[in-house]
């Protein structure tokens, strides 16, 4: 029987809630998440159990990593994996207590703003380069643009730019949606 499996699945920056719901669903079936790298999730087989997953985006930890993880650990959250600035935490439902790492609207908004800021910075560059390269490609091409490798690179960067633009728009909508909820839920 397989005890380990890898699953390819794409969740974009604004879909963290859907992503954590899926990880929980997998745990319910006995597949426990162990690591993530570029859209590939690794699971190990175990007893089915109800485990809540939460994703944090934090690019501001620097020398503070231990105390950051400790704060979550003290509240029953185990750090499963870190990918870039994304941190995957989990907590068994049986542990009780809070099942959310963000408990008010303000801090939820701040999390999405952090992701937005990060993506806007990265996105701006890729959007700029792809537009720049497409414009260049209509005129007299510089020599470096005439090979196959460059065409592939250009398509790749354009694809990334489109994805980032989509993420940026969806994140802005997400933040606006959260701001519109005028009642603060404390639970």
């Amino acid at each position: 029987m397989k005890t380990k499996k890898r699953v390819f699945k794409v969740y974009l920056a604004w879909q963290d809630e859907r992503e954590s719901a899926w990880l929980r669903h997998m745990a319910n079936k006995g597949w426990h998440f162990t690591s993530y790298t570029f859209c590939v999730y690794t699971f190990v087989k175990g007893e089915p159990s109800d485990v809540v997953y939460q994703l944090d985006f934090n690019n501001d930890i620097k020398n503070d990593h231990d105390s950051y993880v400790e704060l979550f650990r003290a509240d029953g959250w185990e750090l499963v994996d870190t990918f870039g600035s994304w941190h995957y935490f989990r907590k068994p439902c049986s542990a009780g207590g809070n099942m959310h790492i963000y408990t008010d609207r303000d801090s939820q908004i701040k999390k999405y703003q952090k992701i937005l800021f990060f993506l806007a910075f990265m996105g701006m560059y890729s959007i700029y380069s792809s537009i720049h390269w497409w414009i260049l490609s209509f005129g007299d091409k510089p020599e470096y643009m005439q090979n196959m490798f460059f065409t592939i690179l250009r398509l790749f960067v354009t694809g990334a730019a489109v994805l980032m633009l989509a993420c940026i728009i969806m994140l802005i909508l997400r933040i606006r949606g959260l701001k519109k909820q005028d009642t603060l839920s404390e639970k």
Binding site: L71, N98, I101, D106, K111, E186
Partner: protein
């Protein structure tokens, strides 16, 4: 009262309770426990919310980190400025509450 402090009010409920729990020094997780017990269990603060809030309060100079030999469990306490902000907020809330009581 400086104008910067004035615009800091009102505090969010989470910030208010975090500041209140840091009147006496305590570490991060103790803040979560204090907030829960102070509010009679009606308010809980998750670690994501708390981590961000502590960072922001440190940056504003309303709380300070205390020296510790356990770097994993950092302890914090209100600064004088933080104390002043908290008092101003309590005054503001008190006035509002009195106004309410008088008119209901």
């Amino acid at each position: 009262m400086t104008s910067a402090n004035k615009s800091a009010l009102p505090l969010t409920e989470s910030t208010y309770l975090i500041l209140l729990s840091l009147v006496s020094p305590c570490h991060g997780y103790a803040v979560m426990q204090k907030v829960e017990s102070m509010s009679g269990g009606s308010v809980t603060i998750g670690p994501g919310t708390l981590y961000g809030a502590l960072k922001a309060l440190l940056k504003k100079g309303w709380i300070q980190e205390l020296p510790t030999d356990e770097p994993r469990r950092k302890s914090y306490r209100l600064t004088e400025n933080g104390n002043r902000i908290l008092r101003q907020e309590v005054d503001r809330l008190e006035k509002l509450a009195q106004l309410g009581k008088k008119n209901i």
